[in-house]
């Protein structure tokens, strides 16, 4: 009986860690998109590839497009269709001035926040090793 109870607790804990991780990734996605566009315009698939390789923010690909559309509605991004020489026209996104401002502000908050949290987490991570 006790085993079952312990077993259930274990599953729930793992479950909630997974959920927490999903929420964390979603929370960071907006910043990661703005940061990816810092260097210049990108189209959706290009942006996804950067996010996959650079940020470890594995996501359902389809969620990125509604998010881009909201960032555009909020005036943080501009979008334009560009005819490609070969193949299909592509919808490129670029940061607007207020998008650049927002990206910098978010990056500063993130860096302050993560530096402090890292200090707090050091003992925990040593323990693990």
């Amino acid at each position: 009986m006790q085993y079952i109870v312990l077993g259930m607790t274990g599953t729930h804990a793992a479950d909630s860690v997974d959920k927490w991780e999903v929420q964390l990734r979603k929370g960071c996605l907006e910043l990661a998109i703005l940061a990816s566009l810092w260097g210049g315009r990108l189209y959706g698939l290009e942006l996804l590839r950067i996010l996959e390789t650079e940020s470890d923010l594995v996501i359902t690909e389809g969620t990125i497009y509604p998010l881009l559309s909201r960032l555009r509605a909020e005036g943080l991004l501009d979008a334009e269709w560009v005819e490609a020489e070969l193949g299909h026209p592509r919808k490129y996104y670029r940061l607007t001035t207020s998008g650049r401002r927002r990206a910098v502000a978010m990056a500063q908050i993130w860096s302050r926040f993560s530096a402090k949290l890292d200090d707090l987490l050091k003992p925990l991570l040593k323990e693990e090793r």
Partner: protein, 202 residues
Amino acid sequence: MTATNIKIDAYLRQVRRGLRALPGAEVTDILNELRIHITERAQSSGRPAEDAVDSALESLGNPEQIAALYVTEDLVSKAQSSRAPWTILRTLFHWSTLSILGFGVFMICLIGYSIGVCFFLAAVMKPIHPQGVGLWYQSAESGHFSLHLGGFAPHTGQERELLGWWLVPVGCSLGGGTILLTTHFALWSLGWLRRSRKKSLP
């Protein structure tokens, strides 16, 4: 090639069905972008055409959820950036067609805005019809009483007007207050809707 096109079309039809709340030009734009994403991703995978399209569609995710996310993001950001009661009500109306909770929020806000407008109207009409407009109090023999805001009804002489010219500042501030409160409630509810939509996605 035809088989893959049929699959892509079927997927996009499902997305389109979920996007009814958005303007036509926006829908075309969204569907074009998704179609190009699917084709390009499939072509670059180096797999046989049909497999490649299947995998592109799978990694793109559930079409209904993508459409719902578009609608929520779009409507919520429009309502939040304009804050105009009319835009907010239109957004809530769309939400009310999607869920019972949305319908409840829409009704509460509709009533809230209507009450706000009534206060304002009373304040504006008071100088025009000083004798007819007011906050009227009437007590009946049975111990019941009635209180009503407005005017133009034939008066029996038993009613008392409670506010007099105070109706103008009181009406304006209560009207403004009710409208602001309703707007806050609407935006808070829409924020909640956006968060809950995001949570439901994998």
